[in-house]
Amino acid sequence: MSDNVEALYQEIILDHYKHPRGAGLLDHASGESFQVNPTCGDEVTVGVRLDDDDHLHVGYEGQGCSISQASASVMTELLEDATLDRVADAERAFHELMHSKGAGQPNEDALGDGIAFAGVSKYPARIKCALLPWVALQDARLRAGIEIDKPTTPDA
């Protein structure tokens, strides 16, 4: 396997793919979004709600390639019970990372295990896979009327 593909399939990504965290839809989501990557059929549904302390709760289900499903797992683990500031930072940092063409310096504070996706940005066909759950999150959040102070670019 080449270094680039080794970098694409980080151990963290393979681990999340084989052992997804937080899989399953929320019982009482206030917003839900189904997203599909029409070129390959990857699917993910993300649901969100806010608790009384304005912390986000996230659930998801989906099927697809290792990158899309690991991305959903990493995102859910990262943002479960997160403050909206933290959600905003993570959304922005992940979009920036995906558009870095492999030259990005991932922001570990904002992204946690999400930094493992840095290698994805070298493969244009896979960026959509990694972004799929993040696009669903953003859409679910907007459907739920959950605004964040630092909007991300709607570029996916």
């Binding site: 680039n4 593909v5 399939y9 084989k18 390959c40 059929g41 990857d42 697809g64 290792s66 493969y123």
Partner: protein, 426 residues
């Protein structure tokens, strides 16, 4: 390892792109010809020569270049017609096969709309909510969505012939073609399953009930001898770029009486007979379907492609690909965790082979193959309903052409094994 029908190592020298490397120095193993084929020097040279010596707008202008360009364009039409046993005047150039199929579907909706305004049209083209249109469950989206849209516009019912577990048409369902049926549009060779369908008997059934028969031959004409008369169709569509020709050119063949009864699809310059401010009459086929300045260089390139294919021999290509298909099927069906989606035998089967790997998404299989220089297609191959029918979200597909050899199949199989090991699923 070489197959016996073709001298592949010699042929490969005609295709410059096969010399290049990918992904950091890996030799290119191109197994995606069902998506698009690579081009020999003969095609590239012909397009360049046309632009260097004869470029002009065809069918207009009185100068020498316009004459030469028109000759080049029309001689290309004749050569391409000859390749499929057709008359030149029954061949229409389109942008691609998708446009050819839309041209057919829009003929029905345009005729239906004109009839509603009292216009005189071929009654076979007029749809009502009592009409039906029949496709199959293995159509490329290009031969499904135009008919879905036609039905949505006219109220006609869309029906389809379902599939068997082993990837064939369920011929017991042929009765969906009945007296209500206005159009039967089916694929000759499936781009996802590789199945070669019994087109003749389905077209005969269409004829019996008075329906127009349309065949999508995109995957068959590049790989096997097809004579338009033998299929029993009224209209036949295919593309240039899958048969060594350039992109930007598709084909529509039609029976002369049928072609001339279809209302035009795209209108404008070059397709008219007379024009007044109040209305226009249209030129006979093929001009009536070729509005605007057409794709002359692509036609010239496609003529070079069919001459190249004739030089190699389409029968030899078919025999060669049969050997590749047999080897690929034998290899894949013996691999643990690999399942072929489509016929597992070489009977009535082309060289596009879809498969799934237990525990691995096709995107990940394709990524590992790509890393080894092996180019395959992953996804639903624009045949999403077919994927659903077999309960898979997507497949990995390898597809061959005259420039592939048995070693290419082995390289793909080795890549699948490497992916299984890397992801720990064997």
């Amino acid at each position: 390892m070489m197959s016996t029908a073709l001298d592949v190592s010699r042929l490969r020298k005609d295709f410059p792109i096969l010399e290049r490397t990918v992904r950091g120095g890996r030799a290119l193993v191109y197994l995606d010809s069902a998506a698009t084929s690579q081009k020999p020097y003969a095609v590239l040279d012909a397009e360049r020569a046309y632009y260097e010596t004869s470029n002009a707008a065809v069918h207009r202008g009185a100068h020498q270049l316009a004459e030469e360009a028109t000759d080049a364009y029309e001689s290309a039409r004749a050569a391409i017609a000859g390749f499929v046993g057709a008359r030149a005047e029954d061949i229409v150039f389109t942008k691609n096969a998708t446009e050819s199929l839309n041209l057919a579907a829009y003929a029905f909706s345009n005729a239906t709309a004109k009839a509603a305004q009292g216009g005189v049209v071929d009654p076979r083209l007029v749809l009502t909510p009592e009409s039906s249109v029949v496709v199959t469950e293995m159509e490329h989206h290009a031969n499904l969505i135009p008919w879905q849209e036609l039905c949505a516009k006219t109220g006609a019912q869309l029906r389809w012939i379902g599939l068997t577990e082993d990837g064939r048409l369920d011929m017991d369902q042929l009765s969906v073609i009945d007296d209500t049926t206005a159009a039967v549009s089916i694929v000759h060779q499936s781009n996802i399953l590789g199945t070669i369908n019994p087109v003749r008997s389905i077209m005969d059934r269409a004829r019996e009930v008075g329906a127009l028969g349309i065949v999508d031959a995109c995957q068959s004409i590049p790989h096997m001898r097809v004579n338009v008369e033998d299929l029993g169709a009224d209209l036949l569509t295919w593309s240039g770029h899958k048969m060594l020709g350039p992109t930007g050119i598709g084909l529509l063949w039609g029976r002369s009486d049928v072609l001339n009864s279809l209302p035009p699809f795209l209108t404008g310059g070059s397709m008219i007979e007379t024009v007044t401010m109040e209305g226009s009459t249209f030129a006979p086929a093929p001009q009536r379907f070729e509005a605007g300045v057409p794709m002359v260089a692509q036609a010239v390139g496609l003529e070079a492609a069919v001459r190249y294919l004739d030089g190699v021999g389409i029968e030899a290509i078919e025999q060669h690909e049969h050997e590749l298909t047999a080897h690929a099927l034998a290899t894949l069906t013996q691999m643990p965790g690999v399942r072929v989606i489509g016929p597992e035998s070489t009977v009535d089967r082309g060289s596009a082979i879809s498969f799934v790997v237990d525990g691995l998404h096709p995107h990940d299989v394709g990524q590992v193959l790509d890393d080894r220089g092996v180019a395959v297609r992953v996804g639903h191959h624009c045949a999403w309903p077919t994927c659903r029918r077999y309960g898979v979200p997507a497949t990995t597909r390898l597809s061959t052409y005259l420039y592939n050899d048995l070693d290419d199949i082995d390289a793909a199989a080795a890549g699948v094994r490497a992916a299984q090991e890397f992801f720990g699923v064997v």
